[in-house]
Amino acid sequence: MAEGLAIEHEVSHPALQHHFENMEQQREAGALGMWVFLVTEIMFFGGMFLAYTLYRTQYPAAFASASNHLDLTLGAVNTVVLILSSFTMALAVYSAQLGRRRNQIICLLATITLGLTFLGIKAVEYHDKYEDSLIPGRLIPGRPFNPEVQEHGTPYDKHKLHLLPGATVKNVEMFYWIYFAMTGMHAIHMIIGVGLLSVILFFAWRGRYGPEYHNPVEISGLYWHFVDIIWIFLFPLLYLLGRHLEHL
């Protein structure tokens, strides 16, 4: 028999796309595709982490002062919220693997809700920065970066910027520029994630995912966990920089 024996298609699953030979190949390709995409995301955020690291080492006092002005409680709560959402996402994938439709829906709904909670708290934080005139440069027309600096000896005012020795307002502005760039980009990714999960939720509600086919849930989960990991690094770098110097 010459080269080129035909390989017959197995009786195909309705979700099998025509260019794949079988579900296993489709699953493998989907997972690998999402991982390759996450590689691009790692490099994408990496550029900002580089800028942050560079300037933090150059202007430690200013960055610590600026960081101390962020609300640690809100940041910590957000971290807990996001990790919890990662947990519920993992449970959603687990439910899909076992074909439990009701659990899938509950877990996805929980993940989405927690994601929205995160975004809500972020919005509150952003609003606080706006109130204290900490939005960098002239991004907000009419409300340029112009924080009130706490003077020595005056009673503690949480809206005022407390400058550590060696810190300048200009360098504090740089911290906030990086803060908004990084958390803003992170928030955009979360919004996309919430949108993605809403679509998955819809199809889960329609009963599309089960033990033989739950690829989309799994790869959405990968994306969501990645967004969580970015925050796992953002939180200590942005919020916990100079807390130990607060007594100065």
């Binding site: 296993e24 699953r27 493998e28 997972a31 690998l32 991982w35 390759v36 996450l38 590689v39 790692i42 490099m43 990496g46 550029g47 982490f49 580089l50 690291t53 560079l54 080492t57 150059q58 640690l72 910590a76 971290t79 807990v80 990790i83 919890l84 990662s86 947990f87 996402m89 993992a90 449970l91 687990y94 693997q97 076992l98 799994e218 989960g221 990968l222 966990h225 990645f226 969580d228 990991i229 796992i232 690094f233 939180f235 200590p236 770098l237 919020y239 916990l240 807390r243 130990h244 110097l245 007594h247």
Partner: protein, 97 residues
């Protein structure tokens, strides 16, 4: 290649570990450790947390070698970006470490 289903118990354990890590990092952030120890501790905890998420929530522990290579190469490339850029800044007197 059959898919490995991670047990509920593993997920709960990892979640609790992540919570503990978060509490630990906040606590450590408020303590005044000597030198650069604060940032070293914070980054170590963050790396451990991220590793747990990658290995267990993202199933890398149960995935093929290819996935593992893909993920590590991203970290490697990030390291290239950082080290070579720092080679310039460090030798221009930027870091007062």
């Amino acid at each position: 290649m059959s898919e490995h289903i991670v047990s509920l118990r593993v997920y709960v354990t990892i979640f609790l570990a992540l919570m503990a890590g978060t509490a630990l990092t906040v606590w450590a952030g408020l303590q005044d450790f000597p030198g650069q120890l604060n940032v070293i501790i914070a980054m170590t905890i963050a790396v451990v947390k991220a590793t747990l998420v990658v290995l267990y929530f993202m199933h890398v522990r149960y995935s093929s070698r290819l996935i593992w290579v893909v993920f590590t190469s991203a970290l490697f490339w990030l390291a290239i970006l950082f080290t070579f850029t720092f080679s310039d800044y460090w030798t221009r007197g930027w870091f007062q470490i």
